[in-house]
Symmetry: C2
Subunit: 391 residues, 2 copies
DNA sequence: CATGTTTGTTAGTAAATCTTACGAACTAAA
DNA sequence: TTTAGTTCGTAAGATTTACTAACAAACATG
């Protein structure tokens, strides 16, 4: 028996709807679509936007006039290229009308803050020493830094983004951040009350991976490994950040590497990734090797050995993840003098040799081009995404 | 400077829109929402659906009359409970009006097919020996089996779902399936042309994880490890299947375990997961140990050692994945006499001892309750999802 | 038996897009 | 110089969708 009167095929967009949709939601979607298109390509006419989005010129004009009313979009005169027909009026996001304030709390000893343009460029930055402050004292340091950065803004502030170490839930509550002495600290809500601005708090590695995606031109599926005082990762699948069932996705620092033990870790286990790869561990190991080396050549050799082994250990941890997720792009963030060389070479080689070459042959591993501002810029992506739906 | 005239907050639904939305898309979304609600809870009145979905009774009535016109929903008389007010007319998905045809091509020597109800119950099943057929001959076996199963259906067929081993892309092209001798085989398109029915082809492990999610009551984030002639995995994050950049997500069979080598694998590497854990490897190792054992007690001890070590190896591979994704739920599918015992116990223990207990303390690992029909039922989920937006 | 409650439907309204049509402004060819 | 063709942005009306308001039907309860 074959199908008779079978129901129509449902399109992808309708898969697993979670809520009802009303006409006004259409407007929001299409408004954001236009804004997003304009944000990424810039300098387009209404007709260009209509062609690119599939909406009609009428609808685009209507949406643009709404966006111009909010000072989010501005006209920039007529296109100069000689073409037949009425010349187009060029539009762009009003990139100087708003600024974004962001904080990076992931430094072990220093908190950073910055004012960024809508493009993610750092306009000004400042910082404050943590000086061992913990708990409420640490919160006060953060709040004071935020007030200071906000005072330095020279345009209306679109919102505040904060990248915090530790485990941060969707509501911006820092569930656990040992370095800052926070447990269940409702940072987002407190800062929002304190400033009256929209605030978004996310994990630092998650912020970093968003920055790499939006500003680094990374692909849809991306793993970013952030090496600092600890080791953490941010994961993007299909263009969306993965948070995990308990918001602890990317916490690979205390996963044990290999089957041959390894250095004792502060957490009590032996052979944790962090015990191999953290910046303090690497620097002290290199220092020790250099001190005991008879010649500079010996010192360099020993350093290379230490870094190669650390890279290999990272590769051992990442291989199952790369295989299970079919990842093709891994980005490292951290001190380039440690990571960018034999270490990352050893990591790639290890991953390739431990996974199926046919699937991972195109694997790329590289340093981030975002430098030390990666968390600040990622926090800005969160604000852009939350306030404008753009990124 | 504080925000003045800052744009409104964008809701979650508007994040990263990828396409324009029109009024008719609203209809599709809400229609699917109603159908989904009815599918999952069953036996509700129009007023119940209105309360649950948030839509008005008017809108629900309109959608229901459309769905009844397609024979997807039927009225089942009035509710009997004595309540004030006009008695409600109970509705349900018309669960006998359509059937789903599915195939499971993942058996090493045998292809299976079945007719399923919309609830995922297997109504009838059949199979055919592969007999070493490869390439076009294998396709012919599949097509013949499909014709046979279709002929056995007793109601209009909603669609055809196929779970295939190997790497399957989004268009249902089997990119690579060594056992069947397929490379870039456009199975979905060919079967669709041959039958005139909507066909969905997916990887077997991905089908399995969908079955576990829809029928096994599993959570949003779920890893299913399928142990058979090979070892593969299916991954669900946020209720959505993860396919990977090259559609090879879950291919963990040839990831190397540990840092102490291990058995030589058919792929040329040493210590692949499959070389530890595949069913042929385990059965032959157990057989050999039993043959050489002096007493039954010795044989059992040796068997337990083999299974424990296999479980430990699985845990070593999964620990980084569990840590990176913050997974709390792992399901095993395969021969229970091998997997359900010391093996899975060793896997859990290994994962817990190699990850941060605070995040993975709630980890559950269990056997699937779907048994051998898991791929058939998962393929049905694909059809339900594609044709009705329901699952 | 009157009252209140719940159900499902009918009629009209609001919001969003679309189609069709038009004037404005430009290039290029006759 | 004039004419034709093109492109841009806007205006008016049609279409789709879901909403609000109102109502009849059917039941329980005091």
């Amino acid at each position: 028996m074959t199908a008779t009167g079978a129901p129509r095929m449902i399109q992808d967009r309708a898969l697993r709807p979670t809520a009802k949709v009303l006409p006004e939601h259409i407007r929001l979607n299409n408004r954001t679509l236009v804004l997003q298109t304009l944000y990424r390509t810039g300098l387009q006419s209404r007709a260009d936007l209509a062609r690119e989005t599939g909406l009609t010129r009428v609808t685009v004009s209507d949406l643009i006039s709404e966006l111009m009313g909010e000072n989010l979009v501005i006209e920039l005169g007529q296109r100069q290229e000689p073409r037949p027909g009425k010349p187009a009026t060029l539009l762009d996001i009003n990139r100087v009308a708003f600024q974004i304030v962001t904080l990076d709390l992931s430094g072990h000893t220093r908190l950073r803050g910055a004012v960024l343009s809508l493009d993610g460029a750092v306009l000004s930055s400042s910082g404050v020493e943590l000086s061992g402050a913990r708990g409420e004292a640490a919160y006060e340091k953060v709040a004071a830094l935020l007030r200071q950065v906000i005072a330095g803004a020279t345009a209306p502030i679109l919102g505040v983004g904060v990248g915090s170490p530790g485990i941060v839930d969707r509501a911006g509550v820092v569930r656990n951040a040992p370095n800052l002495g926070w447990r269940d600290e409702p940072l987002q809500a407190r800062l929002q009350d304190a400033t009256g601005l929209p605030v978004r708090v996310v994990n630092d590695a998650n912020a970093a991976v968003l920055a790499e995606h939006s500003f680094g031109g990374a692909d849809h599926d991306l793993l970013l490994v952030k090496v600092g005082h600890g080791v953490g990762a941010g994961l993007l699948m299909g263009g969306r950040a993965i948070f995990g069932e308990r918001f602890a996705a990317g916490e690979i620092g205390h996963v044990v590497v290999g089957t041959d033990d390894g250095p004792l870790c502060a957490c009590g286990k032996s052979g944790c990734l962090e015990a191999w790869l953290s910046v303090p561990r690497l620097t002290s190991a290199i220092q020790a090797a250099t001190d005991t080396a008879a010649t500079p050549e010996q010192a360099e050799l020993a350093t290379d050995q230490i870094l190669t082994e650390a890279g290999r250990r990272l590769g051992i941890i990442l291989a199952p993840v790369v295989g299970a997720l079919n990842l093709l792009e891994i980005v490292l963030s951290g001190p380039p003098e440690l990571l960018d060389g034999v270490l990352s070479a050893a990591t790639v080689e290890t991953i390739l040799s431990r996974t199926m070459a046919t699937e991972t042959g195109e694997l790329t591993l590289r340093m981030t081009a975002q430098g030390e501002d990666i968390v600040l810029r990622g926090a800005a992506v969160m604000v852009l995404s939350a306030q404008l739906g753009v990124s």
